[in-house]
């Protein structure tokens, strides 16, 4: 559905995107995560034909968004990270205006507006003025607007920012409905755990570069494979025992970092891909170190995010 090829964007001499490649299959709910300034909005604006990339291109359903902007606009629904609304317009008029801009016929417009207001649960607000809506409601109205022309690909830039937990839950519900309708959704956020919860697959972006792309389980697997090992010694076993353990660990080439978190808790980091856990344990036991707990420190997604986006 969406294929991004070597996308680059420079603002002046500042490279905001440094050659992004990405492919999203039909019907996927794909999360786009990255810290501030990662280039999420830049990518999304290029996909929405609001900006031309410096080089590279992207295809939506086979349509080149750079060269065939006019065609691409019919396929893409875009919801920016702000909501622009006009005052002195009622909700249905607001939607009707954009429907007209997409040149949708009168009967179809009416049907679509009713359907969308229902989807975003604003039916009762149909005849109210837009500027009288709450922030969350405006956000939902904007979501309805981006769906007015029945696009195949929906691009949502931080749709959950500024929503209370309840509204977030509702947003998730709406996204599920959209997936059932067969739409492909690209959704950006700063918050990895939240996205991981609702998306099938994820892309992590940092400083204009792709750091990770794949499904959520893959991400945790990958990160867990690299998680540090916690080794706890029996409480009160004496300082020399701890020293022995440290000396023993230092001799092993696969161990790249040893920290003493607590008097009897050592945390070690292993070389990428080194499969030497049993070895480490065996060596320690043979040296007579009283190990009472030995496990991988669990990585939560928050940590994964910090880990992945540091120093890239």
């Amino acid at each position: 559905m969406l294929k991004i090829e070597n996308l680059k964007k420079n603002y002046g001499s500042f490279p905001a995107l440094k050659g992004l490649n990405l492919e999203i299959p039909d019907g996927a709910l794909h999360g786009f995560v990255g810290p501030n300034g990662a280039g999420k909005t830049t990518t999304m604006r290029i996909l929405a034909t609001l900006m031309k990339p410096t080089s590279g291109t992207a295809f939506v359903d086979g349509t080149d968004v750079v060269k065939e902007g006019h065609k691409a606009r019919k396929l893409v629904g875009y919801m920016p990270d702000f909501f622009g609304v006009y005052d002195s317009l009622k909700c249905w008029e607001y939607l009707d205006f954009y429907a007209r801009c997409y040149r949708i016929g009168a009967a179809e417009r009416k049907r679509m507006i009713r359907q969308l207001l229902e989807l975003v649960q604003l039916e009762e607000k149909e005849n109210e003025y837009v500027d009288a809506l709450s922030r969350g409601m405006k956000q939902r109205l904007c979501l309805a607007r981006s769906l007015i022309h029945d696009p195949k690909l929906l691009i949502l830039d931080e749709p959950a920012s500024g929503m209370d937990p309840r509204a977030r839950a509702e947003m998730k519900g709406i996204l599920r409905t959209l997936r059932e309708m067969g739409k492909t959704v690209l959704i950006s956020s700063h918050i990895l755990p939240e996205l991981a919860e609702m998306c099938d697959s994820l892309t992590i972006l940092d400083h204009g570069q792709l750091v990770f792309s794949g499904n959520v389980d893959e991400l945790s697997d990958k990160m867990n494979g690299n998680a540090p090992l916690d080794i706890r010694l029996t409480e009160g076993c004496g300082g020399e025992q701890v020293e022995t353990a440290v000396r023993c660990l230092k001799e092993m080439p696969a161990v790249i970092e040893i920290t003493q978190e607590e008097p009897f808790l050592l945390r070690i980091r292993l070389e990428n891909g080194a499969d030497v856990c049993e070895d480490v344990l065996r060596q320690l036991i043979m040296k007579g170190v009283p190990v009472c707990d030995f496990h991988r420190a669990p990585m939560n997604l928050e940590k994964v995010f910090m880990e992945v986006t540091q120093g890239a």
């Binding site: 034909t49 920016p80 702000f82 920012s161």
Partner: protein, 303 residues
């Protein structure tokens, strides 16, 4: 299908009481002007022995509207695109299937419709000039056409400036400057040897009398056809011969002579040519605006 931008602004506009107020104030201002010039009062104050009150009233109304349009149009259009940018709704419009040119045209039409409404509401007041004689219906009709063309040009300039500006205020200011610049630049021929050449002919009564319309038109600098003020003067001169009594004067007389030449060339021709000139300027600016409307769009950071 009707341009959605125009249809939608009509909805908003008709909902607001302001629209009604603007029309009332505009017509009232014209009415006051008309009554003042039709009353005997001015005949005593101003030396206008050659003119009857009808043409004087026509002159006042035409020049008054000409000036008002220049004042109103930039104020009205300054927000057209820049305001959408400020409100962050421009992007939402640009991602729809409505192309840049159609957006620009929609913006022009929404303001032009309002100005056209004002001009047409002023028509009954204009026709008061017919009461005292000296002004023909043709004058009034050509005058109206001319004003409509001027309104369109002013709106086009305003929308163009708005589509290259980030802020409404800035857009308004440069609109006025652009209008001023067009007026000044197209009047530059007056600084060259051009007025001299004209006066040489006009002051030679025999030559002037023998001049054909074609010859007279050829003598007028082409740049002047892009000057709205020139068209306005031609309209006023027309068959009303407003400037005739000043033609013998030196200095200003040299410039006024151009309109005596316009007289020979045919005032209808000049007025319509100037109207066409303004439309040409509009077309160029609107083309540019539809190219610029996407360029000026930058990410406005909301966080």
């Amino acid at each position: 299908m009707l341009n959605p931008i125009m249809a939608f602004s009509a909805t908003r506009r008709m909902r607001s009481f302001k629209t009604m107020l603007i029309v009332i104030v505009y017509v009232a201002a014209l009415l006051i002007l008309a009554i003042a010039f039709l009353s005997p009062f001015f005949n005593d104050v101003v030396y206008l022995s050659t003119m009857t009150r009808g043409p004087l009233c026509y002159l006042a109304l035409l020049a008054g509207q000409f000036g008002l349009l220049i004042l109103i149009a930039p104020a009205m259009t300054s927000a057209s695109v820049a305001g959408e940018r400020e409100r962050q709704t421009l992007d939402l419009l640009l991602v729809t299937n409505t192309g840049s040119f159609r957006i620009v045209i929609g913006k022009v039409m929404e303001s032009f419709a309002m100005l056209a409404l004002l001009i047409l509401c002023g028509l009954p007041v204009m026709s008061l000039c017919l009461l005292t004689g000296g002004v023909s219906l043709l004058h009034i009709l050509i005058g109206e056409l001319f004003l409509l063309a001027e309104a369109f040009a002013c709106v086009s300039i305003g929308v163009f400036c708005s589509s290259v500006s980030r802020s409404t205020v800035f857009s308004g200011v440069i609109s006025y400057l652009v209008i001023l610049a067009i007026g000044v630049v197209t009047a530059l021929p007056f600084l060259s040897g051009y007025p001299q050449r004209i006066t040489d002919v006009v002051y030679d009564r025999a030559k002037y009398a023998a001049l054909t319309a074609g010859e007279a038109r050829a003598m007028i600098s082409p740049l002047l056809y892009l000057n709205p003020g020139f068209g306005l003067m031609a309209l006023i001169q027309g068959e009303l011969h407003f400037f005739s009594s000043y033609a013998e004067l030196k200095g200003w007389g040299r410039i006024l002579c151009t309109w005596l030449m316009a007289d020979r060339a045919g005032w209808i021709f000049i007025a319509l040519a100037c109207a066409a000139g303004m439309l040409v300027i509009s077309a160029i600016l609107l083309g540019l605006a539809s190219l610029m409307i996407r360029k000026g769009t930058k990410t406005i950071k909301s966080n």
